[in-house]
Symmetry: C2
């Protein structure tokens, strides 16, 4: 339960039961997201302190929006989801009424509320209840750890999709955390050639171990020179900026070919150096990629095809160790993706 900055408590809560159209999920794993860290160390930010207009939720809330598990019960009217099904959950609650909702852009719902942040009863719990619309059954061959990874991988999948990557193109990826890694997997899935930029040696090694051929250290490598060398002076077809710092944003404009795409998937926290004349001359397209809308099925498909190996970057911890081995370990840079396991057989 998130009470406030630095105040997360492991508590017994009432077990939720599904109402009409809802699904009760027994959580297998719940990943810890960078936004959870932000809430813990700098929040409350997204977590409401007065009732959220859609959900009515406010702190204290149960955290956790990256989770997968098994269908344990369904509410009235839910007839297409066998009990025991392994599922991933799209955690965005929506109003269903606004213009973005009506065209399927659920991430842009004017009242969007993330389960585990702006709604009660998140995934860092033995059980959680969500709407049927949010539940995506997984095909055979995927496990509960992978189910919990679908959410962050869908964030990155959408970024790669919005970069309009085509087979054979070069794509520059700034940032080697989970989203940068997801963009790397998605870029490979689309047949593109990723160039990854990441200052941490541990993270660069993770990419290399996963088959990345070009992984640059921005503190010692000349990224622009490397990009121009690889692309014959043309620049990359697209840049995915999973960092959104002034240096990466400027680097994206320098490195992207005329007419190419820049996708900002990192959440910016400060002004970025925007040069309208350079943008005009190059006809580069700049777009953000915010969470996901219809991206879960395609991400799950790619995952089922083996495009998302988990070697070397995913760690599991028991629920009881959430704070020291989860939040604090991530904050100290000692891990890349930590999944909190529910049930002794999992961790």
């Amino acid at each position: 339960m998130y009470y406030g900055q630095g105040d997360i408590r492991l508590e017994e809560v009432a077990e939720p039961e599904p109402g009409p159209g809802q699904v009760k999920v027994r959580v297998g794993y719940n990943g810890i997201c960078g936004s959870d860290l932000h809430e813990y160390y700098a929040g409350p930010l997204a977590i409401p302190t007065s009732p959220h207009p859609l959900t009515g939720a406010k702190a204290p809330v149960t955290l956790g929006h990256e989770f997968g598990g098994w269908v344990e019960a369904v509410g009235e009217g839910v007839e297409d989801l066998p009990l025991g099904s392994l599922v991933a959950v799209d955690p965005i609650h929506t109003c269903g009424q606004c213009a973005p909702c009506k065209r399927g852009a659920t991430n842009l719902c004017v009242m969007a509320a993330f389960h585990g942040l702006m709604a009660m009863g998140g995934g860092l719990s033995d059980h959680t209840v969500v709407e049927r619309r949010m539940v995506h059954p997984l095909p055979a061959g995927l496990d509960a750890r992978q189910a919990a990874l679908v959410e962050p991988m869908a964030v990155a999948f959408r970024a790669a999709r919005r970069a309009e990557l085509e087979s054979g193109q070069h794509v520059l990826i700034f940032g080697g955390g989970p989203i940068g890694l997801g963009a790397f997997f998605a870029a490979r899935w689309f047949g593109a050639h990723p160039i990854v930029v990441e200052p941490s040696g541990d993270r660069r090694r993770t990419f290399t171990d996963l088959g990345a051929t070009t992984v640059l250290d921005p503190t010692s490598d000349d990224v622009l020179a490397a990009v121009m060398d690889i692309t014959g002076g043309v620049g990359v077809s697209a840049t995915i900026d999973a960092v959104a710092l002034p240096s990466t944003f400027a680097g994206a404009f320098e490195s992207t070919a005329r007419g190419g795409n820049i996708v900002m998937v990192g959440i910016p926290h400060e002004p970025l150096p925007f040069d309208p004349i350079a943008m005009f001359m190059s006809e580069v397209t700049l777009r953000a990629s915010n969470a996901y809308a219809d991206d879960f099925p395609a991400t799950i498909l790619a995952m089922a095809a083996g495009a998302y190996p988990t070697d070397g970057w995913v760690t599991s911890i028991p629920f009881e160790r959430l704070i020291p081995d989860g939040l604090e370990a991530l904050h100290a840079g000692r891990a890349m993706k930590i999944l909190v396991a529910f049930g002794e057989d999992l961790s």
Copy 2:
């Protein structure tokens, strides 16, 4: 002949003749562009003062890049263009070798040179010679004045295309000059509903006379409130900014719906207020539209279908009056689009 700032001279020059693959055009009309004014009052800007890398041209050059006329002679190897054909001319000379050229993005050619600015022998002349590739024959029913209007209308057509306008959508257009007007015509052609913002009363009247139903004065109307009223609080699907001032750029972000498109077709001359967090949250796509690439045929098609009436906004003057009735009249805001006529029968 442009010699430098404030120094344009009407001179006799040698009549050009077409080499292999070239076409000699007898000019009917040549429009005066805002960039010609910039060169006259604030230049040289685009006009090279040392030899251009592609064309070798440098001042003095013959101005004029918005022109149409008739095929008077063709060079060796040009066999598909009957003498006397009415043609519009895409004025961009390209290298044909760079990555953008190879995929047809001629506007992004790394050595792109505009005829009449960075190449010798522009359209403000009785005759001019261009490459066959640059020549677009016009269908029956169009005249030489319209031929000269294809170029600026193609600029605006590309902007509307990059705004991804669909039938029934609302589009906000900042700027009621020739490019804003071209965007208005293109938006209507795509079935969209344009909302035009222009401070000049004369220009607003021109739009109204041409059938515009929503024309706002930013000095007295609350543009954002009007947009929200018209769109039921959602915002426009796209904004085409043909002004690119801080006020219009900020207005574009305020007025564009989540997930919409902002196209910057005005050339920015100063820093613009870029808010990366607003961009991230709204997933608005921002792109520039720079000149035209493959836009001439589609523009000509729309023009032949009657989508570009010339009533009330196009003036013709004789060549001899270029400076007082052309450059100076435009600079003083006394006209919208001025076509310089060659031959007494035309003016």
